[in-house]
Amino acid sequence: MYSDKVMEHFMNPRNVGEIENPDAVGQVGNPKCGDIMKMYLRIENDVITDVKFKTFGCGSAIATSSMATEMIKGKTVQEALNLSNKAVAEALDGLPPVKMHCSVLAEQAVKSAIYDYAKKNNKQYEGLEGFDPNEEHDHHHHGDEE
């Protein structure tokens, strides 16, 4: 089902935890759907110097959280905003079709945290226009249903 890479990140997730007094926090998902991702960022000079996450969810949700944090650490905020769910999934050697929505969640968690940062600091980033962290995402739309 899952690639070795997914299993490796699931079993040994990077950057689990919280950041005290973070510069930004984002949370997406809904326990009703079985998934919640919370992301904490430390941002210095527009660069993400530290990132931690907590996730309630399936193996894929945990692995994509872990991979996403690795992929944005050390990047500029704008670079992090450009991270797509596909890139996260690819970095994990792919995800089963029914699990792609969990990678969307990871993308959304990053965005949501940066949204928090932008609001607090009154900044503008390309890609944040129209983003609403409280919007309900129908991320449970699966490819294999007919």
């Binding site: 699931f10 949370q27 919640i36 309630f56 399936c58």
Partner: protein
């Protein structure tokens, strides 16, 4: 080899060696088509006649009331569609419960689209249907009540005799899905007053792809599979002779060792329940405390999600299941867990461990030792968990 502890006997079981031994001759020695009149064919015919007798005896039915099928799902579909289409002149109303297996629920939902009406009885926090509500749900055009014997997820056993009495008193056919009950609860269809009953081989150490439908003499229903004259012209298709022989052997073994089997399962079940309750905080047993299948353990574990739990357990060799939607890629967590009133979070955090004849004390101890640190690790990752 890595340690493997299989605790998903309600999903499927391995074949017992005696079952496989009984099947083997029918693959290429005594392989004839039971419909053929020559020696090869008669050998096969005798084998299925004999199997039918064994299955019939195990539930106190007559041999000509047992019809072999391709599994529990086919039996459920046959019973429900067969009664519906075969009695639609009498009425178009069916009563079932909200916690049936999908083979019953989706069949009923299909029939709704085709013009039938279905009442889905709710259940209480333990998963029990309410007999008063059942009585009130019966209408003059009700043709069938289908209530499962024991639930596959939470193990709850329904008051089948009382349900059958209500159905019989109103002259409504009563079907029960006994796929989980058969081999784990003593069943006497005559004493209980059952009209149709579905059973399946692969849940009792028999082969996958073989089941049966008990049809009480005189019950009128349409066929599901038309064709050749097999099964007294009521279920067509060349008989799966090895499957049928294996099913009968499995039923025979189950009934020979019945008391022992129940004692073994119940004691391991209670040990597992007690051990996990003692070692893990914030967990809740789902299903009825006593009216439950001897091998069923189902906990909701707060703050964590089932699939990640299963994956972590698989890494240490423990095989079990969960009612989380995330394990199946479906939209909602188990309809059974939602029906007994669990929140989405608790339904997502459910873990089902089902015990079987090959389960040992050490297996149980292994789980009691392995599960707590896994739960703790996942909780540490969970944004819902604040210690």
């Amino acid at each position: 080899m890595k340690k493997r502890v299989y605790l998903d006997y309600s999903a499927t079981t391995p074949l017992k060696q005696e079952v496989l031994d009984a099947m083997l001759p029918h693959f290429n020695a005594s392989f004839g088509n039971p419909s053929s009149i020559y020696t090869y064919g008669r050998e096969s015919k005798n084998a299925i006649d004999n199997a039918r007798d064994i299955i019939a005896k195990s539930i106190n039915a007559k041999s000509d009331e047992i019809f072999f099928t391709g599994g529990g799902s086919e039996s459920d579909n046959w019973a429900i569609k067969g009664i519906a289409y075969g009695n639609k002149h009498k009425g178009k109303h069916i009563i079932t419960s909200k916690i049936e297996h999908h083979a019953v629920l989706h069949t009923c939902e299909y029939l709704e689209k085709e013009g039938f009406e279905v009442t889905y009885l709710k259940v209480d926090e333990y998963g029990l249907v309410n007999l008063q509500e059942l009585k009130e749900a019966i209408r003059s055009d009700t043709i069938l009540i289908s209530i499962m014997f024991a639930n596959n997820e939470i193990g709850t056993i329904q008051p089948i005799k009382e349900i059958a009495e209500i159905a019989n008193s109103k002259q409504v056919y009563f079907h029960t899905d006994a796929v989980q009950a058969f081999g784990n609860i003593k069943i006497d269809v005559k004493e209980l007053g059952i009209d149709l009953m579905s059973i399946s081989a692969h849940k009792i150490y028999g082969p996958k792809g073989t089941g049966a439908l008990y049809i009480k003499k005189g019950v009128k229903l349409h066929q599901l599979i038309h064709g050749g004259a097999q099964e007294k012209k009521r279920r067509a298709g060349t008989e799966n002779v090895p499957g049928i022989v294996g099913f009968a052997k499995a039923a025979e073994l189950a009934h020979e060792n019945f008391d022992e089997h129940i004692k073994h399962l119940t004691s391991l079940r209670d040990k597992l329940i007690a051990g996990l309750k003692e070692k893990i905080e914030y967990i809740h047993l789902n299903g009825h405390p006593t009216k439950r299948l001897p091998g069923n353990v189902n906990f909701s574990i707060e703050f964590i999600e089932g699939e990640s739990l299963l994956l972590s357990l698989d890494m240490v060799g423990i095989a079990c299941s969960s009612g989380s939607a995330c394990t199946s890629g479906s939209l909602d967590p188990s309809h059974v867990l939602m029906s007994i009133g669990l929140t989405h979070e608790l339904a997502h955090g459910s873990l089902r461990l089902t015990i079987g004849d090959f389960t040992t004390e050490e297996d149980i101890e292994y789980v009691i030792n392995q599960l707590p640190p896994i739960v703790e690790k996942l909780r540490q990752m969970s944004p819902l968990y604040e210690k």
